[in-house]
Each structure stands twice: as C-alpha cells, then as structure tokens.
C-alpha cells in the first residue's frame, strides 16, 4: 500500500468520524446556536436595534448579523475539536489512532477539518436564521468563504490545544468562558470600534477576533474598521503558530503518551 493512499484513507476516516459525531448529536451541536442566534436577532436586532438606529450606514440588525454569524463559527469550530479530542482522550479511544500507522499531521488535519465542517455548517444554519430577520447581500463571496475557512481552522487549532492540556471536563470550558467569550464580545460584534475612545480602539486592535469579525463583515456588507489584507495576514500568522505548536504537542505525546 502506498503511503499516500494510507494517509488519505486514514484522513478521510477521521473526517467522516468527526462529522458523524457532531451530526449524530445535532441537538447539542447544531440546534443551540440556531436558537441563541434567533434570540440575539429578536432582542438586539429587532427590539433594541430599532432604537439604536443605523451603524456605518446599515440598520443595527444588519450590522450585527455578520458578527453574530462569525461568533457561532468561532464557538462551534472550537467546541467541536476540544470536546471531541478531549472525549477521545478521556475514553481512551484516541489510542485507536495512536497505535495505527498515522502520522501526527494527519491526525491533526483530520480534527481540524472536522472542526471546520461544524463551523461552516453552523455558520450556514445561523445565516438562514438571520435571513428571517434581515436581508443580506453578499459583497464578496471570495472574502466571506476565505475568512470563514481560515477562522474555523484557527479556532479548531485552539480547541485542539485546549484539549491536549485539559485533564478534566471542567478544563474544556475554562478557555471558552474566560478568554474566548470576552474576546468575541469585545471584538466588534455589536459595535464599530470607531465609537470607542482612542485608547480602547488601540486595545481592541490587539484582539485577533476583531480582524475576523471585521473581515467577515466586509465580505458581507462591504464595511470594515480595519485593513482587510492586514487582517488576512494576521489570521494566517496565528494559524501557522498554532499549527506548529499543535504538531509539537502531538510529537511530544503531551497528555496522550506516557
């Protein structure tokens, strides 16, 4: 058997298994973001949004729609990998992969693509929900698709690293609760950073999520607080760093080989 066939088969097996996993438990994975999105749109978009008026020339509901979609993509790609990989560690079936002739980068890629798949599926579902509340014309499909893929890769990697370090179930919710959620809320989902005082504008630019939200918003609405090329650069650099770090963790066997 050729190496490439071995790797390809192993890779597709992991991806199918990952997609199977989150679709089988769709009530826990796909439905909750759809419901919370509907509530966000109802409350912030329609009820409060009408009193806020326009933001950067768009109705408030339309302005927050891209950010909210991005928020679901980030949360779900992260959640998919962190819970799947930690679950595999916890139930020990990660050993099924570790004893098999699969190189580490294939395992990592398999989990990333699983996370990207969930991120994109949830993104699609919440976009459909959003369309109940507002019309969305896509400014640039290329930018939308590129930033969705890159963002879900990045947060799949984040979830992976979290899972490697996690020792108990509590550990997989610490980062989402204390780091991810604040960064998302402060990442310009609900407002343009131009509304902030100078200092907080600068501080916001240290938040990587700001770049993703704004790039996505640019792709949909055509407006952004930041330079899009620069945003893609930042996201790619983060992906590279986390990818190398994840491979390093797998290579040392951290948390999975004694």
């Amino acid at each position: 058997m050729s190496r490439s066939r071995l790797y390809l088969t192993a890779f597709s097996t992991i991806v199918i298994k990952e997609v199977d996993r989150f679709t089988r438990i769709w009530v826990q994975t796909i439905l909750p973001p759809a419901i919370s999105m509907a509530l966000y749109f109802l409350i912030f978009g329609n009820l409060i949004g009408t009193r806020i008026g326009e933001m950067q020339g768009f109705s408030y509901v339309k302005y927050i729609a891209p950010g909210l979609i991005m928020m679901s993509i980030i949360n779900n790609s992260y959640a998919n990998v962190v819970s799947s990989f930690f679950g595999a560690k916890f139930q020990k079936h990660i050993e099924e992969m570790l004893v098999a002739p699969i190189p580490n980068f294939i395992i990592l890629l398999g989990y990333i693509v699983g996370g990207v798949a969930r991120g994109m599926l949830v993104g699609l579902v919440v976009t459909l929900v959003a369309l109940f509340f507002t019309k969305l014309h896509i400014h640039s499909y290329t930018i939308v698709i590129a930033v969705v893929i890159l963002t879900s890769i990045l947060f799949s990697l984040g979830g992976f690293i979290n899972a490697v370090f996690a020792r108990k179930f509590d550990d997989i919710s610490i980062i989402p609760t204390f780091i991810l959620t604040p960064l998302i809320y402060l990442g310009g989902v609900f407002y343009s950073i131009n509304l902030l005082p100078e200092f907080w504008q600068v501080a916001s630019k240290l938040n990587p999520i700001l770049y993703m939200v704004n790039t996505f918003r640019y792709g949909v609405l055509g407006v952004s607080d930041i330079n899009i090329g620069y945003a893609f650069f930042i996201i790619s650099v983060f992906i590279m760093i986390l990818f190398v770090f994840s491979l390093y963790l797998l290579h040392t066997g951290k948390g999975i080989r004694s």
Partner: protein, 310 residues
C-alpha cells in the same frame, strides 16, 4: 527475521518509577509467546512501548526488522493490539469501531466492510454489529477488541491480559480462537499472570518481574523445572532435629518446630515418605501444597537469580 526483537529496553516513568530495567526479548515468526508476570511487573509497559503509547527511555524495538524509531509506519502496520483496558468510544457501534480502525490502517471501505463481516462473525458479534459498544457485556467487549485488532490482518497480534476477569467459558472459546489464528500463521504475543494460561497456549515464554526478564525459554523446559513441588507437613509434636530421609529433601520452618516442608518430585511415592517418618516416630497430622505453582516458580527463579549474582 524475528517477529519481535527487543533489546535493552528501559522505561522510567515521569514520577521516577523504573518500570523496565533493560529487558531483552525475542519472539520468532509464527510463535505463540507468553509474557508472564505478576501485577506491576512491567508487562503493559512493554506492550505500551511496542505500540508507541508509552515512550521508552532507552533500548531498541524491532518489529519484523522494522526499527520502531525509524520505520514507525511499517512497524505499526505489522501489529494488532488488544489492550488490557477497554478503549473504544462508548457511543459508536461495533461496526463503526472496526470500520474506523480499518480506515486508520489505510483499508478502503469496501474491503474493510468484508473483513468486518468476517471477523465480527467469527467472534460472534455480527448480530450485534449495530449496537453501541456500551451496551455490550464485558465478554463481548473483549471480543470486539479482538475483532478490531484483526481488521488489518496484522502479522503480530499482541494481547495484554485478554482473559483477566473473563468467565471460564469465554476464556476457553477465546483460547480456541487464538490457537486457530496462530495455526493460520499469525504470531501471537500474550501477557498473562496465569501460568495455566501460558501453559495451555504458548510454546515459548518469558517471565518478567520488577521490570526484569528472569526467564526466557521454551514452555517445555520451563515446565520441566516445575516437576518439583513443595509440601507443608503438620506434625503431632515438635521436632528437635530434622530427620534425614533417603531420597527426600526436608526443611525446617523457623517459627514452628511442629512443621516441616518437603520437596517431592513427580513420580516419588508419598507412602514411602510417610512410612519412613513414622518409623522414626514422627506422625503427620495434615499436609498441604505450599503455594501455587506460579509463586513457586518465581521463588525458584529469583533464588537462582540472586544466587547467580552473589
């Protein structure tokens, strides 16, 4: 070429525990090999290193001459592993578990499906193929792990205490199954802490204790050493001195003068012993086997080991 060659294997765990102290081991192709030892001896550590779940701290492992450090993909492809602890996803069905494992070894779906049918049927799991693994009984879980280990038809099948905690009937059927697999050409390495199991199944054996191999020989020559058994005799009154009786080795027990021990080899007549004892006015009230054979074996091997070192 050997199916497995291990040399000077060392493992010190992160907590400083020295679990393997430079062991050497060879398993020939087609062999049915037992790695026997008490709990904590280092059996699972050894298996863990061969399957890369445990990182060795020294030494070399070759699987069909593939160096585990350099040709890890080839080496791993040769091995099927049935671990000591259940380790599949509780939420997947039997079918999913074996098909996924096939995929991890590069086997395409169609072929994997054929093999899944073959091995799940052989192991009596075909009717349960769509049941999630958590609903299986303990014995069926063990069998599922065997089916999973065989799905890529490995040349070396490794089983880590496959029959621990398994009922007698299942143990027998598992033994029969393994014999058949071995007869068809799969090399088997099995760890156990039951001497009887090793005796029943295996042609060659290594005994491990405290991270050291204390015996590496054929089952036959090992059993030869077991022909001597030690019995404890309770006497009706204490003895001052140990009598000398032709053909029997007697031993005093330090704490109690009313007990002696005797080594009996196979074929020796116990009546002779009793009559010679009563000729000397020594009456035996009761008699019991000193210990189980495995313990006896360890004592003997360790004695030899320490004697050799001294």
């Amino acid at each position: 070429m050997k199916a497995l060659r291990i040399s000077k294997l060392e493992k010190t765990y992160a907590n400083g525990l020295h679990a393997l102290k430079g062991i050497n081991l060879e398993v020939a192709q087609g062999d049915f090999f037992a790695l026997l030892g008490p709990n904590g001896a280092g059996k699972s550590t050894t298996i863990g290193i061969i399957t890369t779940l445990v990182k060795k701290t020294g030494g070399k492992v070759f699987v069909y001459d593939y160096d585990l450090d350099k040709d890890v993909v080839e080496a791993k492809s040769m091995i099927g592993i049935v671990p000591q602890e259940i380790n599949f996803s509780q939420f997947e069905t039997c079918m999913e578990i074996v098909l996924n494992q096939a995929g991890y070894y590069g086997i395409r779906r169609r072929k994997a499906y054929e093999r899944a049918e073959k091995y799940l049927t052989q192991l009596g799991l075909w009717k349960k193929r769509n049941d999630t693994s958590r609903t299986l009984s303990g014995g069926l879980k063990r069998r599922l792990m065997i089916a999973r280990a065989l799905i890529h038809e490995p040349r070396l099948l490794i089983l880590d205490e496959p029959t621990a905690g398994v009922d007698v009937e299942l143990r027998r059927s598992m033994w029969q199954f393994l014999r058949e697999i071995n007869r068809q050409g799969t090399t088997i390495l099995l760890t156990t802490h039951y001497l009887e199991e090793a005796e029943c199944l295996c042609r060659n054996i290594a005994i491990i204790d405290h991270g050291q191999i204390i015996e590496h020989s054929s089952m036959k020559s090992l059993l030869g050493k077991l022909h001597i058994e030690r019995f404890v005799l309770d006497l009706d009154s204490p003895l001052k001195t140990l009598p000398v009786i032709d053909g029997f080795n007697l031993y005093k027990v330090e704490e109690d003068d009313a007990i002696i021990e005797v080594e009996i080899s196979r074929g020796q007549n116990l009546n002779d012993l009793f009559s010679m004892l009563s000729d000397r006015g020594i009456n035996v009230i009761s008699m019991r086997n000193k210990s189980n054979r495995l313990e006896e074996l360890f004592v003997r091997l360790l004695d030899k080991d320490t004697r050799e070192k001294v």
